[in-house]
């Protein structure tokens, strides 16, 4: 029998339903792992032990009364970017070190209403700006596969916690790859839905035209279960789209026979480490053997994805983060001389280096004389990139390739040069620019480190991505590989 901490949400759900164990027992087991073998990972900013046990006990009572919700008694973790009423919500920043959210994010409310038990808030890059978790004010997260290495970012705490068996599932957010890249580097499944699929209400904003909430799990079936609860229209998010939510678990069993998979040649050029290339090629061969067809497609403006992102995202961040002024909430500098000094020092001291860099980049590209050359030009290129995807999806159902150019890198390796760090997200950023759903799933090992297979689909095609991923996971067991120290 698989140990509780290694079971999937789907397995835990049936164990709870059959009375094999209670939610309180499950919660106690995982809280002990978080405080024990998991502590060295620094995956959590806040552990909600007492609150989780109360919620677990309530879930057990609800089950006894015949009122179990879809996720009744199942443990999850929220990235510390989601507001949770009366709980400290830091966004990985000194700016919000003492911020206690006065309300629940819609995503938090929906998962709790379905019976989920929240074990804590996970560590992340400051304001989700980073690809290594090293920009967190609360220190970097360590990768359970090698403690010297980064778990990726910005949802690195969520990914590390799921990979190490501290929790079966965690929420995350993805603006340029912040769910998928850490999922790839930790051997977990990461799903970023279509822009507008999951409410962003109560999710602290970084770049509003790119941000989307999603999940990190150990299986595609678990991601389907959670997405079904999280997705759907929310009038409190003005960018939430009113499109019906299908039953994502319903279509998982559909075989992939006849599914057309697009391959982009540039995804496999010299930028991709050869050991990752062979793992991804092998995964594609497996899918082909399962009856999918492989076709080459062209994304001619692919090279412009990263530079476009590093104009659009900082521009939106400079606007969104102007709300942190030291007056209404957040960090305030000591003894301000005057109002201007209060603003400048509160922001100068409250934000870390990468956040300040992005605010300044955004301020520059939006400033008088530069707006047309940078911001407007980037929004035009963004349209070209979206058009490239639309043309490709006229010929194929899904585009598949690597999630990242290399496996997990060492902490400190890429902190000197922002461009090197930014290029980590070269394969993932396009989906955000075009608002497309995308996911990463484990597909092999390179240098004893996990490799991710990246899938991108047309708008609202989450069910197809999950189906493809699930069918692949029926055929392979890469997603069951576990870091030895956390088995």
């Amino acid at each position: 029998m698989t140990a509780l901490h290694r079971r999937s949400l789907v397995e835990l759900k049936s164990g709870l339903a059959s009375g094999e164990f209670s939610s309180v027992e499950l919660t106690e087991t995982l809280l002990a792992r978080i405080a024990g073998e998991g502590a060295g990972l620094n995956a959590f900013i806040t552990v909600l032990a007492d609150q989780a046990l109360v919620a677990a006990s309530a879930a057990d009572d609800a089950r006894a009364a015949g009122k179990a919700g879809v996720l009744n008694g199942l443990p999850i973790v929220h990235k510390d970017i989601f507001c949770m009423r009366d709980v400290r919500t830091t966004c990985g920043s000194r700016m919000l070190e003492n911020f206690v959210a006065p309300y629940d994010a819609t995503l938090v409310a929906r998962l709790s209403a379905a019976g989920a038990v929240v074990l804590g808030k996970s560590n992340m890059d400051e304001f989700a700006m980073g690809s290594s978790n090293e920009t967190s004010y609360f220190g970097p997260v360590r990768n359970p596969w090698d403690l010297e290495r980064s778990p990726g970012g910005s949802s690195g705490g969520s990914a590390a916690a799921v990979a190490a068996g501290l929790v079966p599932a965690a929420t995350g957010t993805d603006t340029g790859g912040s769910i998928r890249q850490p999922a790839a580097l930790t051997n977990t499944v990461g799903l970023k839905p279509t822009y507008g699929r999951v409410s962003r209400y109560g999710m602290i904003a970084f770049a509003s035209s790119l941000d989307q909430a999603g999940v990190i799990t150990r299986s595609a079936a678990d991601a389907a279960l959670l997405l079904g609860v999280m997705a759907g229209f929310d009038e409190r998010d003005s960018t939430s789209v009113d499109v019906p939510v299908p039953d994502y678990s319903d279509t998982l069993a559909t075989p992939v026979k006849g599914l057309r998979i697009g391959i982009v040649r540039q995804h496999f050029d010299e930028g991709l480490e050869s050991s990752c290339r062979s793992a991804v090629r092998e995964a594609l061969a497996t899918l082909e053997a399962q009856g999918a067809t492989l076709t080459e497609v062209d994304l001619p403006n692919l090279d412009y994805c990263v530079p476009t992102y590093y104009v659009v995202a900082p521009a939106e961040c400079s606007s969104n983060l102007s709300r942190f002024d030291g007056v209404r909430f957040g960090y305030r500098a000591e003894d301000p001389r005057d109002l201007l000094d209060l603003y400048c020092r509160s922001r100068g001291e409250g934000f870390g280096a990468e956040v300040k860099r992005r605010i300044m980049t955004g301020t520059y590209v939006l400033s008088a004389g530069y707006y047309d050359a940078y911001y407007l030009q980037a929004q035009k290129v963004r349209q070209l990139i979206a058009d490239d995807f639309a043309r490709a999806f006229a010929e194929v159902d899904v585009i598949a390739g690597p999630t990242t150019p290399t496996p997990a890198f060492k902490l400190g390796d890429k902190t000197d040069d922002p461009i090197t760090m930014y290029l980590n997200d070269i394969y993932t950023i396009g989906a955000n620019l075009a608002g497309l759903p995308a996911m990463s799933l484990p597909c092999g090992m390179a240098r004893q480190l996990p490799v991710g297979l990246h899938l991108v689909g047309p708008h609202w095609s989450e069910a197809r991505l999950l189906q493809l991923a699930h069918q692949y996971q029926l055929q392979t067991d890469w997603h069951l590989a576990t870091p030895e120290a956390y088995a």
């Binding site: 030291g326 300044m360 035009k380």
Partner: protein, 95 residues
């Protein structure tokens, strides 16, 4: 293109960010690299392209201009460093 010290000073002021001397020197260097990197966008074939307005082509949803949220002021102000009688306090602006 690279940025000079005056430009970075100006940007930091527009962004209301006080930087230490070390941070300032580092910003001049790193922002220059970022700007040089995004400069390649100038080569993209964008003649006649309409800038993207929305990633999934949705129109901006509007709602009636009515109060929908309750009064949560006291709870919200618990996050403020300095308040008095429901007002936020800042250093004196007018002498």
């Amino acid at each position: 293109m690279s940025l000079d010290k005056d430009q970075v000073q100006h940007i930091a002021m527009l962004a209301r960010l006080r930087l230490s001397d070390t941070e300032f020197a580092e910003s001049v260097e790193k922002l220059s690299r970022i700007v040089a990197f995004v400069d390649q966008l100038k080569n993209a074939p964008t003649a006649g392209v309409v800038p993207m307005a929305h990633p999934v082509n949705e129109a901006q949803r509007l709602r009636a201009d009515e109060v929908t949220e309750g009064d949560d002021r006291d709870r919200i102000q618990q996050n403020a460093v300095s308040v008095s009688d429901g007002l936020y306090l800042v250093p004196k602006v007018i002498e």
